[in-house]
Amino acid sequence: MKGKDSLALEYLYDHYSGALYGAIFRIVKKEEIADEVLQDVFLKIWDKIASYDATKGKLFTWILNVARNQAIDKTRSREISKEKKTTAIDNVVSRIDRSGFSEQGIEDIGVKDILKNLPEEQRFVVEHLYFKGYTQSELAEEHNIPLGTVKTRLRLAMQQLRTTLGVT
């Protein structure tokens, strides 16, 4: 992969694009934006693969962080551009868009099944971190939860998921 082989990139795409797109789509909530972000993510992987250090973690962890950062950056730049807009119609349309997606959002059957065994407060943290584009700090700030509590909830959730997902 580090030899800039496009076949290796294609392998990565075939293997991970679904997982990454699932995260990206839930964060940006618009198909054409998600498509764009996914392409940007793989172009970035293609460009920066040499900086990936296998001794510091799994390849997927590195790729997922690239994808999450890219998706969050995109969402924030859109938020800013939206704030600048003055027409009422745009605001209405965008609100409808957002609510539509949030209804759908995490209700996906596969993810719901996995997360259903988690206590409500833990599921809340996992959803926000992985599917809503929040960092632990942002979640703590926005929802007035101490950062230590967020960390603990995530930690407990990950231990529960380990069992649910059969990781040994």
């Binding site: 800039k4 496009s6 694009s17 997927f60 998921l161 997902l165």
Partner: protein, 269 residues
């Protein structure tokens, strides 16, 4: 360091999510390198995270992949550009080999062509030579055969008792000269054989005369360079002697006695 407390603090999750500062990150990596338990715990977290995201997969449209790889193809990296150059190397060497082979082939075939040409030429010369030799042998054979036939014919005459042999000896004009006449009176045939006569000029010829009843009778002209017997003109019966004179080419009606070369009387009986 209390490993359990360190793990419980949730710092590995934060590390995994990329939420640490550079300083915190460096410290975690130092601890990971030092403690296998930490590496094991991180590996489990990463595996859990990956499975969770895999479960939450949404397949992007195929057009996204096509557009992505079209972009990558359109803007290949400098390293990637080196790759297409390698396949040309074997192709070039194939052409090189083909060219070398065709030149070798051309050299071989032109050598063979020359070799065959010279062999053919040599064979042709040999054949011409053999044909010429064959013709020569055939000619020689014919000549010998003809000569043999002639000799056999001559022999019949000289062996035939009915032919009288008349020896003509040299006159004072040509004391070394000598010739013979075979004459068959019944059939009037006359043959001449030369033992020794000098070469004449082209203007002159020898002329044979038969003396019948005291008068010279023309028996024909001849050149002095034949072998064997030469048939002469028929003459009437009662020849008493034969003589040869030198006359202008074509002969004369009457002999020039001063030029008589040989003369011989017919022996009676």
């Amino acid at each position: 360091m209390n490993i359990h407390e360190y793990i419980s603090s949730g710092i590995l999750e934060a590390y995994m999510l990329g939420e640490l500062s550079e300083q915190e990150r460096a410290e975690v990596e130092k601890n990971l390198a030092q403690y296998p338990e930490l590496r094991e715990e991180l590996a489990l977290l990463e595996e859990t995270q990956e499975r969770l995201l895999m479960e939450a997969s949404i397949a992007p449209k195929a057009s996204v992949k096509a557009a992505l790889f079209a972009k990558i193809e359109a803007a290949p990296k400098a390293e990637a550009k080196v790759v297409p150059l390698t396949p040309t190397q074997p192709a070039a060497s194939v052409w090189k080999f083909a060219a070398a082979a065709s030149i070798t082939l051309a050299l071989i075939s032109s050598y063979l062509a020359y070799d065959y040409w010279s062999k053919w030429k040599r064979t042709e010369n040999n054949l011409a030579e053999l044909i010429a030799q064959n013709q020569q042998v055939a000619q020689d054979y014919n000549r010998v055969n003809q000569r043999l036939d002639k000799l056999e014919d001559d022999l019949k005459i000289t062996d035939d008792p009915s032919f009288k042999r008349v020896i003509l000896n040299g006159t004072p004009n040509a004391p070394q000269a000598m010739a013979s006449v075979y004459w068959k009176e019944s059939s009037k045939e006359v043959y001449l054989s030369l033992q020794s006569l000098k070469q004449l000029s082209k203007e002159n010829q020898y002329q044979l005369w038969a003396i019948i009843d005291g008068k010279p009778v023309d028996a024909g002209v001849f050149d002095g360079d034949f072998a064997g017997l030469l048939k002469m003109k028929d003459i009437g019966s009662g020849a008493a002697a034969f003589a040869v004179t030198v006359e202008p080419r074509g002969g004369k009606a009457s002999p020039t006695l001063e030029t008589m070369q040989v003369v011989g009387n017919v022996v009676k009986g």
